[in-house]
């Protein structure tokens, strides 16, 4: 919150009030909890699969592909030691020459999305751009998980059925 809002809360009797300098958007981008009416809506960070396989730049595609397919995935996120997203391999890249290093075959700098984006907005983007999956990251680029279009559709249908 802004410094002014923090001061105002103190005047209302709140004892432990902090000024989060990077702002509300950065707070939400880190997947931290929020309150209020908008907090009820499902968001990308809630649905993103945290167990998505990852790999490093220097591995070979063959090694990564074997590991990933054994777990039933058709996508891998390329990350640094700090888990910052550097690239993405979808089915098309996984089908390339197995002897190639990951760095040569990955999609570099894929578009990433913040955890607080609503599922409704995410579905709209994923359908428009024919994306089966997208990486969800914090605002400093660290991987939160991979959001699958089929998971978003299932969740929206479940919520529609519930009324």
């Amino acid at each position: 919150m802004s410094p002014r809002a923090a001061w105002r809360l103190e005047t209302l009797g709140f004892k432990e009030v902090f000024d989060y300098v990077d702002g509300k958007v950065d707070w939400m981008a880190a997947g931290l909890p929020t309150e209020g009416t908008n907090a009820q809506h499902p968001r990308a960070g809630d649905m993103a699969r945290k167990d998505v396989p990852t790999c490093g730049l220097t591995e070979t595609l063959g090694d990564v592909k074997a590991r990933v397919e054994a777990k039933g995935w058709n996508a891998v996120v390329v990350v640094s030691d700090e888990r910052v997203v550097l690239g993405l391999l979808r089915a098309r890249e996984l089908a390339m020459d197995a002897a190639q290093p990951i760095e040569k075959v990955m999609r570099p700098g894929p578009s990433t999305f913040r955890p607080y984006v609503s599922l409704h907005e995410m579905l709209h983007f994923m359908v428009d751009h024919k994306l089966e999956n997208v990486p969800v990251t914090t605002s400093d680029g660290r991987l939160v998980g991979l959001l699958l279009q089929k998971d978003v559709v299932a969740e929206m249908e479940k919520r529609n059925d519930a009324g």
Binding site: R4, S111, V117
Partner: protein
């Protein structure tokens, strides 16, 4: 010699010419969007109110 014709995409948000869609990075994307418009549409970037604070 003929020069290869390069066709640029247009952002659906601001109509500016872009090299490639910022969202899917695929050529000929029917919903091509620039990085700035994508950020604003998903509220991943917000306009800053005033440099001197609000």
């Amino acid at each position: 010699m003929t020069q290869a014709e390069t066709t640029k995409e247009k952002c659906k948000g601001c109509d500016r010419e872009i090299d490639i869609c910022a969202c899917c990075q695929e050529p000929d994307c029917p919903a091509a969007i620039c990085y700035g418009c994508q950020g604003r549409e998903l509220k991943q970037t917000i306009p800053q109110p005033h440099a001197h604070g609000g």
